[in-house]
């Protein structure tokens, strides 16, 4: 009986199964292609994102063919007249489709695991997590489309309500869709989470899958299947009008909510406001002569930046004095319900530097005005470089060593990262930041912008910076489509007249002479090394033992005040703000090896690096950030 039904389904929907097979092959092809393009860098498992999309599309096809096609043509009435329980009809369809989807998912994941073996170190736990996440997602998408299929013509209403509801929810609550289960399972953390099973996401996704499966069974059985039979009828003209009105209403509501979501400017009681500014609104508190001068200076510089980038607005800036901070420390305040950027710093400290403050403010303002789009990894080198480029702007023809400390950062960074010659090298900017620190990568970014200015001309360089940094449109499907239609590298060539590889070649050529010229200071910049070990019994707390390897004889102008920076990270958090990092000094001979004072529980996220100040670079050099979980 069951085999007869299965044969019927295979015969009836052979082309749909064939199409799903082709989609599966397409996904596998993409994984292989991505692996070839990626080479030895980054995680190849990122390619599973497209595979997950194709998997969802396959589930949509299956739900449509197995359920909608049957009930809309009313052939289920023919099946019901045969000696065949109604539930079996539904279960045969469900499990047949589920097997197909799981085969597709398992096939894609297996291939990805094999091709990633060159760059990934697998542990049974990591493979278990990957399998649990991907297969759970596959089961969910299939159950979703299978269940929705039983809503017949009203499934479109269901899709509209679900998409609209999620869109509204994410807009209202400022949530990221990728942070929500089930999308979270195949989201950004998919290739990287090696230790912790996302239990909550798995439970939510599994629960939703079960709910949609039960919906399917209920709709197929309730009132002897008459409900699903009625729902399966074709859409009337009135239904179509209603659906169109519903979708239009949801989109309008999303737009209106988005428009009204603009936060009111933060109100800071007291403080000196910048005078004679056009766009920038700067307040420095508490009121004092220094505060007024600082506000005016920041206002002047940010107004000039707005002119340079063509910005028409920017969030208000609030600088609040906090004398207990180090002069190079900047603490950010997060505004939940008001608009603005708050920075706390010790601006009256004798060693406090204005340029450093401006570097921080420039980055924050652009992140805000570009709605985060300037922060995408493939273009992050621009914003990273611009935070130094703008405070240190000057004659574009001036030699690079006019800002010697920035040039040294660039040279030191490239020395440790290796050659950056391919566009893909710029697309892994976050990895570079983790290896050498964001202040060093900002130096590299600065040198890229300076060389671009010299090679393509000041106007072309400015247009390029405007293109990347002054995107004032809010993120939307249209902007995402434009990004996809014209990739950032193509836009670079259109604006500057150079392809990105060509430019990178010229940039390397421009830096090469400086490597010789500045060989002596570069030699004095040490490579920092050290190791950490975790010791503790199973079930008990763990202690961390550190072993710092000093670089030998060093010049305090290039290497001073070594420390171990570390901190506890929340799940899926890898970076910690400066204020949350702990510092364990390593300057004295006896402190270079030992135990950290704290203990941690098993499974706690832990991030750390050895670091030292380098006055010659006016920034910190690091051994490289490491992220792990306390075993």
């Amino acid at each position: 009986m069951t085999s007869t039904l299965i044969r019927k389904e295979l015969h009836q929907h052979w082309w749909a199964f064939l199409l799903i097979g082709l989609l599966s092959l397409l996904g596998i092809g993409w994984i292989l292609l991505f692996s070839i393009m990626q080479g030895q860098g980054g995680s190849h498992l990122i390619a599973m994102r497209l595979h997950a999309f194709l998997l969802a599309f396959s589930a949509l096809i299956l739900g449509n063919r197995l359920v909608v096609a049957e009930y809309s043509s009313r052939t289920q009435l023919f099946l019901e007249s045969l000696p065949l329980p109604r539930l079996r009809i539904v279960l045969v369809k469900f499990f047949l489709g589920l097997i197909v989807i799981l085969l597709s998912a398992a096939g894609g994941l297996s291939i990805a695991l094999v091709v990633s073996a060159r760059t990934e170190v697998y542990t049974p736990r990591f493979i278990g997590i990957l399998n649990a996440r991907y297969l759970c997602f596959a089961v969910f998408v299939y159950c979703f489309f299978f269940g929705m299929g039983f809503l017949g013509r009203y499934r479109f209403v269901g899709y509209a309500l679900i998409i609209g509801g999620i869109t509204l929810l994410t807009r209202i609550r400022d949530l990221q869709m990728s942070d929500l289960a089930p999308i979270h399972l195949v989201g950004g953390t998919f290739p990287f989470e090696r230790e912790v099973y996302p239990v909550t996401s798995l439970a939510i996704t599994g629960g939703l899958a079960l709910a949609f499966f039960l919906l399917a069974v209920a709709l197929a059985s309730v009132r002897e299947g008459s409900v699903s039979s009625l729902l399966g009828e074709r859409m009337s003209y009135r239904d179509k009008i209603t659906l169109t009105a519903l979708i239009f209403g949801i989109l309008s509501a999303a737009y209106v909510i988005d428009e009204h979501k603009t936060k009111a400017p933060y109100q800071l009681a007291g403080g000196a406001e910048a005078a004679d500014t056009r766009i920038a609104r700067v307040t420095v508190a508490p009121t004092s002569r220094e505060a007024r001068e600082l506000a005016d200076q920041i206002g002047k510089d940010l107004d000039a930046m707005a002119d340079f980038l063509g910005l028409e607005s920017m969030p208000p800036i609030f600088v609040i004095e906090r004398p207990d901070l180090d002069p190079d420390q900047f603490e950010y305040g997060w505004l939940d319900s008001a608009e603005g950027v708050i920075v706390r710093t010790a601006f009256r400290h004798p060693d406090w530097r204005y340029a450093l403050c401006l570097e921080h403010l420039v980055g924050d303002v652009i992140e805000n005005t570009s709605h985060g789009r300037a922060m995408k990894e493939d273009r992050f080198w621009v914003i990273d470089g611009f935070t130094l480029y703008w405070p240190h702007r000057g004659d574009s023809d001036a030699p690079l060593d006019r800002d010697r400390h920035l040039l040294l950062r660039a040279l030191y960074g490239t020395e440790h990262l290796g050659e950056l010659r391919k566009p893909g090298d710029l697309h892994r900017w976050f990895t570079h930041q983790e290896r050498v620190g964001h202040e060093i990568t900002a130096g590299i970014g600065w040198s890229l912008l300076r060389v671009l200015e010299q090679e393509a001309g000041a106007d072309a360089a400015r247009n390029w910076m405007r293109t990347v940094l002054a995107t004032e449109r809010s993120p939307s499907l249209i902007s995402a489509y434009r990004d996809w239609e014209t990739p950032i590298d193509t836009r670079f060539q259109k604006i500057t007249g150079m392809s990105l590889p060509e430019f990178l070649g010229r940039w390397n050529e421009a830096l090469d002479p400086w490597r010789e010229t500045l060989a002596e200071p570069l030699e004095k910049l040490p490579t920092i090394q050290g190791k950490l070990e975790f010791e503790g019994e199973e079930g008990a707390t763990t202690q961390v033992h550190y072993d710092f390897s000093p670089p030998g004889e060093t010049d305090p102008e290039y290497f001073t005040r070594p420390v171990l920076l570390y901190g506890e990270t929340a799940p899926f958090e890898v970076q910690l703000p400066e204020s949350q990092l702990k510092r364990h000094p390593l300057a004295s001979e006896e402190s270079r090896e030992g135990w950290l004072p704290e203990t941690w529980g098993s499974g706690t996220g832990f991030t750390w690096t050895f670091a030292a100040d380098s006055p010659a670079l006016r920034c910190r050099i690091i051994s490289g950030w490491r992220h792990t979980h306390i075993p």
Binding site: T75, F78, S81, P83, L84, P85, R223, E224
Partner: protein, 343 residues
């Protein structure tokens, strides 16, 4: 999920064992859709080897009853008895003993008659492929033509072939001739009659057409508003139901007023009908006579009665009344109720 064996044995409960001559019985079937009662305590009995005409108007509850008998719908109340086996709902094993032709055919349009035979055969252990091929041949159904390319009559014949090819003990046909042309209707009924005559096949078919029942059925059940109004042999039905008609009444003599003015110009008053005396209904209050329908008009009384006495309608009628035999159509109208709105 396993099905019960196809062979059905009577239960040990003596109450569930019934007369073996019945192939199918329905006892007190009820079905409601929300507040609407579609079938309301329906009893039905189909004798073995006979053709049962299930007669009723559109919406009377025929299809709902048949879908309950087929196990497609679950009765709210009542029981069904197949070949002595009583159940609340028709099981898969019992369905294998039934051949069913539904009111409208929802075959997979891409399947040919041959493919449909292979598919349907997969659900019946005693499927007879040779018999199916024979039926296709006899019924002149092209085996390799897609079902979507078959005419309505062909599709109905194909459904019949599918219903017969597993040698069912009982054939249930839900308005099988609806939508067929007269020739196809006649052909179809002949096939059903042949099946009964030659193979002793018990058949229940629903229809709203009296001529079909007259032509094919041995027993008739008349359903109206979800209730079985009559069940029995056709000849008995014809003998039991008569129309009692009042003879023309005698007018009461009333003295006419003298006419004062004979001039042509004077307007004449309209002629009034003469008053008459209404005769007393001779069957009112008599046991054994059931009033089915009152068709009286002002001029005379017309009453349709069913006599349930052993020798119906043998007693002489008093003066002023006559008894008329009724056609089956009139009887059906009396049961099903000709509800013409007074417009």
């Amino acid at each position: 999920m396993t099905d019960a064996p196809a062979t059905v044995t009577p239960t040990d409960n003596p109450e569930s064992l019934t007369e073996e001559s019945s192939a199918l019985r329905a006892i007190g079937l009820r079905k409601r859709y929300g507040r609407v009662s579609v079938v309301n305590g329906l009893d039905l009995e189909v004798p073995r080897g006979k053709i049962y005409g299930f007669l009723g108007r559109n919406g009377a509850g025929k299809t709902t009853t048949i879908r309950m008998l087929m196990g497609i719908l679950k009765p709210d109340r009542g029981e069904i008895e197949f070949f002595g086996h009583r159940t609340r709902r028709t099981t898969t094993a019992l369905k294998r003993r039934i051949g069913y032709v539904s009111q409208s055919q929802h075959f997979y349009p891409w399947m040919s008659a041959r493919q449909l035979g292979r598919f349907v055969g997969g659900f019946y252990p005693n499927w007879d492929t040779a018999e199916y091929d024979r039926l296709l041949r006899v019924l002149e159904i092209p085996p390799d033509r897609r079902s979507s390319q078959l005419s309505g009559g062909m599709r109905m014949k194909l459904a019949l072939a599918l219903a017969l090819a597993h040698h069912p003990d009982l054939l249930i046909l839900d308005e099988p001739t609806a939508g067929l042309d007269p020739v196809a209707q006649r052909e179809f009924l002949e096939i059903v009659k042949n099946q009964s005559r030659n193979h002793g096949r018990t058949t229940l078919f629903s229809t709203h057409r009296i001529d079909e029942v007259e032509r094919a059925a041995d027993k008739v059940g008349i359903i109206d508003e979800g209730v079985m109004r009559y069940e029995g042999d056709l000849d008995d039905l014809r003998a039991e139901v008569r129309r009692l008609v009042e003879m023309p009444r005698k007018p009461i003599a009333v003295p006419q007023p003298t006419e004062p003015d004979e001039s042509d110009d004077a307007p004449k008053p309209p002629a009034l009908p003469l008053p008459t005396v209404r005769r007393e209904n001779p069957l009112a209050g008599h046991d054994g006579y059931e009033l089915l329908r009152d068709e009286s008009v002002p001029e005379r009384q017309q009453l349709i009665y069913r006599c349930t006495l052993p020798s119906p309608w043998m007693a002489p009628m008093p003066d002023g009344w006559r008894i008329e035999p009724l056609s089956l159509e009139d009887i059906f109208m009396a049961y099903a109720g000709l509800r013409v709105a007074e417009v």
